[in-house]
């Protein structure tokens, strides 16, 4: 295994980098350190931000009583990674997300199917057969970056982003798939919409998904979309 590298993001954050391209093994290392810090270690950080290949540890340097807080944090994390003898088991959530792939929601489906010479049924099938990993959340509160989509439907971002993508829109950008939690400008290829609220400030857990979740999509009809009742939908199927 490659040795992780470290760099600072200002006086109040250390980033640990496990690699430089999207790869599930790098992500597993990110999640492992994230999990270990958040569950078992002395809580000196303000935030732990997982990304594709990095974990950023945000701390308040003024509350660390050492000459150089950054040097102390770095040493702490280095020693933690070296003492990796105990591999910590992690619970993984499996979340099922209903998506209506109808053309009125899939704003880019027609174009994508034409470009890739596939039928709309194939698009839906290719998007729903894979179980995706939530590599990270970012861009907007609750926005999941998931991967990787089948190469037959992997499509680069729009050259001209839309000024408004409706909340719930499910999109593809390169090999990633994601869901817009809020109405927002955006450049992903939109292929459907979920009736679920990916983000709701009033919920106890405002974000539906968290880093490391496993996600599968199930197609639903327009009718099911219109009559969707979140209270009866069994979202989290199991933890393992």
């Amino acid at each position: 295994m490659k040795k992780p590298t470290f760099y600072v993001l200002g006086e109040g954050a250390l980033t640990v980098s496990f690699g430089d391209y999207i790869n599930i093994d790098y992500s597993k290392q990110v999640f492992q350190l994230y999990h270990r810090l958040s569950q078992y270690e002395q809580k000196f950080w303000l935030d732990l931000i997982p990304a594709y290949t990095t974990l950023t540890i945000v701390y308040e340097p003024l509350s660390i009583e050492y000459e150089s807080p950054s040097a102390w944090v770095r040493k702490y994390i280095e020693e933690l990674l070296e003492s990796e003898s105990r591999h910590i088991p992690m619970l993984t959530r499996h979340v099922t997300i209903p998506v209506c792939y109808a053309i009125e929601f899939g704003l880019d489906s027609k174009r994508l199917c034409n470009e890739r010479a596939i039928s709309h049924e194939q698009l839906v099938e290719l998007h729903t057969t894979i179980t995706y990993t939530v590599y990270m959340l970012g861009f907007l509160p609750g926005f999941p970056y998931m991967g990787s989509v089948d190469s037959r439907i992997a499509t680069p971002r729009l050259t001209k982003p839309r000024t408004v993508v409706p909340a719930g829109s499910v999109g593809i950008a390169g090999e990633q798939t994601g869901i817009y939690p809020l109405d927002s400008p955006g450049g992903w290829n939109i292929i459907g919409r979920t009736p679920l609220k990916l983000f709701d400030a009033l919920r106890e857990q405002p974000a539906l998904l968290t880093p490391g979740d496993q996600v599968s999509f199930v197609p639903i009809s327009n009718e099911a979309f219109e009559n969707f009742d979140a209270t009866t939908f069994n979202l989290v199927q199991h933890e393992s």
């Binding site: 200002g10 303000l46 290949t53 945000v58 809020l182």
Partner: protein
């Protein structure tokens, strides 16, 4: 006890130290743009330094005090008046019930902070009172303040008829610099710039663009060029991260920054200079100067020591006056 807005400002909001612990869910921290001014405003009225305050931009809201209060104004100077008479910045002020607070002219700076002794009566959202306008949560109804908003505060004080400005003034020299240069650390992608662009980053002068807000300050200056073919995978960014945009211009991420980004990070403003930077106005010019991480840490600690001295001396004086606690 409350403070009512009688005229809307441009973009005034409730802010505190920011909302931490939720960036892994993409929830941005928000918080005051100028944490130093927020801290000093709180110190002057004897509050916890992290108490939520009102952040004002020019043109700022006008207020009427429904009850008497101790307040302070720090940061940008918008020529504040109480019942028509000018009041100074960085003082403890006693305000009688019915007084009208206006901001009449932008004299310097970008963000002014109004603190009230005892703080505002507001609910936390995820551990903070900062306003997150993106998800419409936190602060006052998750939005910028508008005419008719009536914000309660916690402390009742003895009724007085006149405005009183107490004579001591917070000294700012330990906290702000009047130099053109803003000190920065190397960014992790600094070396993706070509040699000449790396030189230009510290040699050239950059102007703060008019397209600057709480999310970021865009800069205008000589175009910088990335000479490597590297592409950054989305990763964490922070308040003060300087990114190179595809058009060769720079942006400094500010309080409402996204949690992650994919543009090369060519520098990082040191914490000790963030307040100085955010108080600069559009069209003002800055220059970057690299310092070592150890120096940045030392400067931050020095600032903190000065802040603690200020806090203690203010607290002593406020208690003498308020005659309570």
């Amino acid at each position: 006890m409350s403070l009512e807005i009688v005229k809307s400002g441009l973009q005034d909001s409730i802010q505190d130290e920011g909302r931490f612990g939720y960036q892994h869910l993409g929830i941005n921290p928000s918080g005051a743009m100028d944490r130093i001014a927020m801290n000093i405003a709180n110190a002057l009225v004897g509050n916890d330094l992290k108490e939520a305050v009102i952040e004002l931009c020019f043109p700022a809201a006008h207020f009427v005090f429904r009850e008497a209060a101790f307040i302070s104004l720090c940061g940008a100077n918008f020529n504040a008046t109480l019942n028509g008479a000018s009041v100074p910045m960085h003082h403890l002020i006693r305000v009688p019930a019915g007084a009208i607070l206006k901001f009449t002219k932008k004299l310097n700076g970008s963000f002014c902070y109004l603190a009230i002794r005892g703080g505002f009566q507001l609910e936390d959202w995820l551990g903070s009172k900062s306003t997150n306008t993106k998800v419409k949560a936190g602060g006052w109804k998750g939005r910028i303040l508008q005419k008719g908003d009536n914000i309660s505060f916690r402390n009742r004080i003895h009724e007085q008829v006149d405005v009183k400005v107490y004579p001591w003034r917070a000294k700012l020299t330990d906290f702000y610099s009047d130099q053109k240069s803003i000190r920065v650390l190397q960014g992790n992608e600094s070396e993706w710039l070509g040699k000449s662009s790396q030189r230009d980053l510290t040699k050239e002068i950059f102007a703060i663009s008019t397209q600057s807000d709480r999310m970021g300050y865009r800069l205008q200056g000589k175009e910088l060029k990335q000479t490597t073919k590297d592409q950054l995978l989305s990763t964490a960014v922070s308040f003060g991260t300087v990114q190179l945009l595809p058009n060769g211009q720079l942006i400094i991420l500010c309080a409402d920054h996204q949690t992650t980004g994919g543009y090369p990070r060519v520098a990082q403003i040191i914490r000790a200079d963030l307040a100085t930077l955010v108080q600069r106005n559009s069209r003002e010019e800055i220059r970057f100067e690299f310092v070592a991480l150890e120096d940045a840490e030392r400067l931050l600690k020095n600032q903190q020591r000065s802040m603690e001295q200020l806090r203690l001396s203010c607290l002593y004086k406020v208690r003498m006056i308020a005659g309570i606690d």
